[in-house]
Amino acid sequence: MQIEKKNPPAKVEMQMTPMIDIVFQLLTFFIMSFKIVAAEGDFDIKMPLAARSEGLPPEDKLPPMKVRLMATSGGQLSKIRLNDNDFGVSFDGLHNYIISVIGDERGPGSRQETAEVELDCDPQLHYEYVVRAITAVSGYTTGEGNIVKLVEKIRFSPPKKG
């Protein structure tokens, strides 16, 4: 009996071209739409409605620290004052003063929790300096990247038209 020689099974070739086309198109789309965006963060500001801010503050509360930011006519910072202290244009000076006022105490009822800063800025002052002032009073980062909070209650004085 003669055994019929079987043909070896035909190799099925997968057609890769369309897949690779699509994959490269996708890749191109994602590369094109890729945009490096710097991380952004927020500062809370306390701006209650006028009616709510009425009333006497509690006795044990620190008096509000009024940070006065003066500007040149071009909107550049010309002077920083906190109550009666003059810091020139040094935000570091303001920062160190706030650290000395707040101290190391943390937790409920601490100065850190109750302290309040009011920002009184010249109308034409560039907003950049406001954010720098908020940064100086609201905390600092340690070497390990942790944030130590200082004043959390920050508000603006009523705007003055100039």
Binding site: V37, A39, D44, M47, A50, G75, Q124, V131, Y140
Partner: protein, 146 residues
């Protein structure tokens, strides 16, 4: 003369590593793709701050206002003056009311240009307060140096 037969065997290219790499690249770019274009505006140069860290939790009902250095405000892609902002805010407030929320629960994100005037930012806050918005955050760009 006897001609030798040239073999016409198809050389198969191994595509597997290339496809692996390509898919990895696609996955990488897909992850980094940021669709939140509404929160960004190329005109606004945010001031930088070392304390500006990305928020852990998303803000509740955020409304983004871009304050430009030309004393205008961009809300939902529309550029308006500070005086013309109130109707837009009132519309946002009515949208919130339809969802059963009060404007006080919403957060206004202020993305001010670093050269914007402080009075403009303050006027924007005041206008928002007139529309009963109460929560405000000032947005800044992360900066690692002091």
């Amino acid at each position: 003369m006897k001609l030798s037969k040239i073999s016409t065997e198809i050389t198969e290219l191994d595509m597997t590593p290339m496809i692996d790499m390509t898919f990895q690249l696609i996955a990488f770019f897909m992850m980094l793709l940021n669709f939140a274009e509404g929160d960004q505006n190329q005109r606004i140069q945010l001031p930088s701050s070392e304390l500006a860290k990305p928020a852990v939790a998303p803000l509740e009902s955020p409304i983004t206002l871009h304050v430009t250095d030309d004393d205008t405000v961009i809300i939902g892609g529309q550029e308006v003056s500070v005086d013309g902002l109130k109707p837009y805010l009132d519309r946002e407030a009515s949208v919130l009311a339809m969802r059963g929320k009060s404007p006080a629960a919403a957060t206004i994100i202020i993305r001010g240009d670093k050269d914007a005037k402080t009075i403009t930012v303050q006027d924007v806050i005041k206008t928002c307060q007139m529309s009963k918005f109460e929560k405000f955050v000032l947005r800044a760009k992360e900066d690692r140096g002091y």
